[in-house]
Symmetry: C2
Subunit: 312 residues, 2 copies
């Protein structure tokens, strides 16, 4: 008799979004990760398999098993064991929330296996514990949108306070993933521990203006306010071709173009499919000229987040 | 034959509003300042009279004349002279935008005297020049709402980019003006030039959440997000009774209670008139107990800003 396995999908996510460092993120349609959850004879969360060499097997170091372990502890049955098969369908260490997607998919699959004792929003606290295992910092700008879908501000984690923002129907995202590697810990370590007052003031104004622009569908204001004065300038040196890509994207009609998360993924926003297609062409031309391998995804915002795919 | 004089009113304003240091402000209904503008034989802007001993007569030091002088320079008639009579109806150095109100009223009166060559939004750049004369810093979180009315984010001054925010119908403001003096320059000098990353992150999230709460009329989110982690803690020592007032206001049902501008004015938000009345009673009880003279105003947001009152 085959053990029941439940498979869940969790989407990749963009975070920071220029003005929401550590607190704003959004889910895209694809790529994403899949995780299978099954009962396991030994108590606790276990990694049964992965398809990616960089994924740690040690359950204490893997975001998915750390998250599921936290869930099991809250569930309160110390004898319970859950095994996880992690099927990565997105690259690791890219600024697209790879570790968060694995944790989100693992939680949704494991929760379904137990008969959904937790609501999705309740899974967030476990996902955050998983993220902490990945880069040592407590933030949810990838796990929250990967789990819940949408474009959101994570105002607080304890207690959980997630603000879903309105999504203009014509908002398209272009996502460049250049095949170079940046470690989140390194990208985080590069940041100065303080923000100059002037930058703080301007970035706060831009955050307020961006949220207002979303509600009003004011595309020009969206463009004017989606400028990262604080984080991107400090991380730009990790991506030597960033300026060139940004310039090409803006010239082709992007509303914004910036590093996603810790990079090297670079996202653009545009109004409408024809605009984002032009942005894609312009960015691809730059990358082809530089001879750096890459992928480019055009996507809308994924409003479902993590979902159970099938039982098998 | 009497010289034509045009009188304008400009409202007091609250600024910072917990999460919008230097970039967010709102206009209240009263108090406010009045300024009379008239033609003057000598070129440039002149202070003819004031009713307040602290108002400088030197036109280079007075926000109203500096602002009108800037307007005249843009207007481009070097022979033109304008005299200003400043009728202060609000206290000076209070965090209620006193100098800004005088500048806004002077601009609206002088502009009307010239036949309204400038639109109101165009007056903003002159008002900002006036503010700079007052405290050396270029910001418009008082002059912009005093001039234009409403609750707004001033995203940029050059070029001018003002974002008017929606105003929930039941939003009431309680404004305590304790009769103690704080100079803006001193309150500004107290601030550290950098903001710790963690505070920057939280305050950005709170700004985004607050704007979202306004659009959704989500009163609880408004309350949760209107917390000043950065500026108020640094200025709190200038107002020894701040904690006591805040505690009383929150217990009486305030959504928020914080220093307005550089203080010592302290504002509260509440939903509905009965709630703000309870807040007023609680705060007045504290002030009476402390034996500190004060005024308390209950107001809604003034959506008109500065207006011409009458010609005489």
């Amino acid at each position: 008799m085959a053990t029941e396995k439940i498979k869940a999908f969790a989407p990749a996510t963009l975070s920071n979004i220029c003005v929401g460092f550590d607190v704003m993120g959004l889910a895209i349609e694809e790529p994403g990760d899949e995780v299978l959850a099954s009962r396991h004879a030994s108590p606790g969360a276990h990694i049964l398999s992965t398809n990616h060499e960089k994924i740690p097997f040690d359950p204490k170091l893997n975001t998915a098993s750390v998250a599921v372990q936290a869930m099991l502890e809250k569930y309160g049955d110390p004898a319970l064991g859950i095994g996880l098969d992690i099927i990565k369908k997105m690259p690791v260490g890219t600024g697209m929330g790879s570790s968060a997607a694995s944790a989100a998919a693992a939680l949704v699959a494991a929760n379904a296996l137990l008969g959904d004792p937790f609501r999705k929003i309740e899974l967030l606290e476990f996902a955050v514990i998983g993220e902490k295992a990945a880069d040592g910092a407590t933030h949810a700008d990838n796990v929250a949108p990967s789990l819940l879908g949408g474009l959101m501000i994570i105002r607080s984690l304890s207690p959980v306070d997630v603000v879903q923002l309105p999504i203009p129907g014509e908002l398209y995202i272009g996502l460049l993933f250049p095949h170079i590697t940046i470690l989140t810990k390194e990208a985080r370590g590069i940041l100065r521990p303080e923000v100059p007052m002037k930058q703080f003031i301007q970035q706060t104004a831009n955050m307020g203006a961006f949220v207002s622009a979303l509600y009003r569908e004011d595309w020009e204001l969206m463009g004017r306010s989606l400028v990262d004065l604080v984080i991107e300038p400090q991380r730009a040196k990790l991506i030597p071709f960033l300026d060139e890509v940004k310039k090409a994207a803006y010239q082709a009609g992007a509303l914004t173009c910036s590093i996603s998360g810790a990079g090297p993924a670079i996202f653009s926003f545009a109004k409408g499919k024809s605009n984002i297609t032009r942005v894609a062409q312009a960015v691809e031309e730059v990358m082809n000229g530089l001879n750096i391998p890459y992928d480019f995804h055009i996507s809308r915002i994924n409003q479902k987040g993590s979902v159970v795919m099938e039982g098998k």
